[in-house]
Symmetry: C2
Subunit: 385 residues, 2 copies
């Protein structure tokens, strides 16, 4: 275990035993640059094994599917054993499905499907089984305006699949659900989402037409705000998931100039109202000649600004969802070291965001995204202390 | 009108008035070859205008979304006027969305989205408004085992969108629904589906792992069995839609050899049990040395064989769907001149198909797929006599 960890930490390239292909563990190189979203750079399988789970580090794929599971509640010892079994089953299933020999004849090789995944642990399970997770892992508080459906929220285990297409996700979700069921986990909820196809390095739009994810951290900032803390959790992170129903027609009915004031960015090019290009830092202090703020006091981008949080940034990899004509919106997915980063932002947004009339938070989940697995390892080995 | 029809029939290339790009009306060339399914052959927009609607003639795209609408029931004269308005609105909306200048900033140009569509008329509306549709257009009869949900079935108008990705479909579905609503139509149901990405000329698999669509008609057979009849309806066809829930886990639990006997084809390569390659014609008379049929009496492929119908073939362009862990299956979509072709096959299948324990027909619809629109025309001009 000590040797494996050391190798992982070094980001070394390991050969996975006799006959197995060499896999790159140094996924740090693929970490959160601005250009996390976009088309895959090459037609190759994305390695499952690595220091960090590929569902966070790889380029954002155009389709996602989330699965939440609950574990039975018997004795802590029995439940820990069940969790070990479920994690072993998920590791095997996900590694095989992502490989160039996915076994299921309905799946093409990894190069075509570009499957990535992540597995996370919910805070309630972590507390109940006294797992070694970051101390900051905790459920989110309630926010003003929340209308959360518990049947679509939370869960002991969270699996997020991402791939080039929905077909792959449906087939792999079936394999994941079967493996989890056989190991003793019960399905809680599932949710699928998608992105527009975007060129590598460009930011995908959401159903409001806004670019979503512009202010993502660069690699240096991600090491400070997304991954960690140092030690056993250096290669872990926390996922905050919110299912946000959007009143697309209502927002579209606003005049374009009004929509841009609500967002604080121009929909056309994504530039902040204080700037000229998408990646210009929004200047929340810039004023108009009449003394009013260029980015209004209730603009979404102002209230979400990292300037209020000492520069803290989340790695946002959100998807749109479409569950019928009256239920469309955003699957907000953001990775951060400490879920309190989200709580601070969401408290500001819930209180004043000019977008609020067009948004309803309908589901919520938090999960500790485990460090990656080595080719001879299992997800979650860090949990048992 | 006479001139327009003549040009359409000639498959001529027309320029769509000043400034518009020339569009190819000779979509007959793209008609139902065996290779209807697969990846788009080129990164170009698929023309909306043409003698036949591109939602039938173009290569099958990997994602689909169906929308069904009902018209109000007032007087026949008023409802005919409403229908004219809805068809005009749909023509405008679909032509713009499929073009290289789709207006909505959330849509990329047609070359990226590869949007195609078809608009059809339900038999009840056609009868009520005495529209000029093929005489064979009629609702399907009930079949043994049907468990149809009326809230997901039928409708006065059917729109099927197909595209390279789900994002495009969600955005265009929103535009279509808004246009239909503004013109007086009410939403009835929607349904989305998808395919595995397959190479051009190969047959996509369904969730059972079976290749689906192998026996599609070639171009000559399609002119006889899919399009027509001759006259005003030569460029129309009838869509039969069935939402078929599949017990994927139950079927997968059968041994591989048993699954192949149920289908009458080998899942591995799609070859009939009587042959060696996917496109070998199934020999329903071939016998084993012991006198039994090589393709069993209850095998799916035998009961669906065109040999029982004087060679009649449907153009099948089915999709898989995934509406949750317990509701997955096939959106059977087939085009034919006469819906009685489907009725004959389905009567045989409903009575004896060895697949029946794993299938539930949960929704159904029939629609007359209108001829295409010329650049200066509107879908449905043939309806008014």
């Amino acid at each position: 275990m000590g040797r494996r960890r050391a190798l992982l930490a070094a980001g070394a390239v390991l050969a996975a035993g006799a006959g197995a292909a060499a896999v790159e563990l140094a996924q740090d190189d693929q970490d959160a640059d601005r250009a996390t979203a976009g088309a895959p750079p090459a037609d190759a399988a994305i390695p499952f094994h690595g220091a960090r789970q590929a569902g966070v580090t790889a380029f954002q794929q155009p389709a996602t599917h989330l699965l939440s599971f609950d574990l039975p509640r018997t004795s802590a010892a029995a439940d820990r054993k069940t969790l070990r079994g479920v994690l072993a089953a998920l590791t095997r299933t996900l590694a095989t499905a992502a490989s160039d020999a996915p076994r299921d004849p309905r799946l093409q090789g990894g190069g075509a499907t570009r499957l990535t995944s992540l597995v996370g642990i919910g805070p309630a399970l972590a507390a109940r089984l006294r797992l070694d997770v970051p101390a900051v892992l905790a459920p989110l508080p309630s926010f003003p305006g929340d209308r959360l459906d518990p049947r679509r929220s939370d869960g002991d285990l969270l699996v997020q699949l991402c791939a080039a297409d929905r077909w792959t996700l449906t087939v792999v979700a079936e394999l994941v659900a079967a493996a989890a069921h056989a190991a003793g986990a019960a399905p809680r909820w599932t949710q699928s989402g998608f992105l527009p196809h975007t060129a590598p390095g460009t930011t995908p739009r959401n159903l409001f037409g806004s670019k979503d994810g512009t202010a993502n951290p660069d690699r240096t900032a991600a090491e400070r705000w997304v991954w960690g803390p140092a030690g056993a959790h250096r290669h872990g992170t926390v996922l905050v998931y919110r299912r946000i129903r959007m009143d697309v027609a209502g927002f579209a009915a606003l005049p374009e100039g009004r929509r841009d004031l609500v967002m604080g960015r121009r929909a056309r090019d994504g530039a902040p109202l204080s700037g000229t290009a998408e990646h210009d830092e929004p200047d929340i202090y810039a004023k108009n000649p009449d003394g009013s703020y260029v980015i209004p006091a209730t603009a979404h981008v102002r209230l979400a600004s990292p300037r209020f949080d000492g520069g803290a940034r989340m790695l946002r990899r959100s998807y749109s969802y479409d569950d019928g004509p009256t239920d469309r919106g955003l699957l907000f997915c953001a990775f951060m070291r400490d879920p309190a980063q989200f709580t601070r932002v969401q408290n500001r947004l819930a209180a004043r965001d000019a977008l609020n009339p067009f948004l309803q938070h309908r589901a919520s989940a938090v999960a500790y995204v485990l460090p990656g697995a080595a080719p001879d390892g299992t997800l979650g080995e860090q949990l048992w202390t």
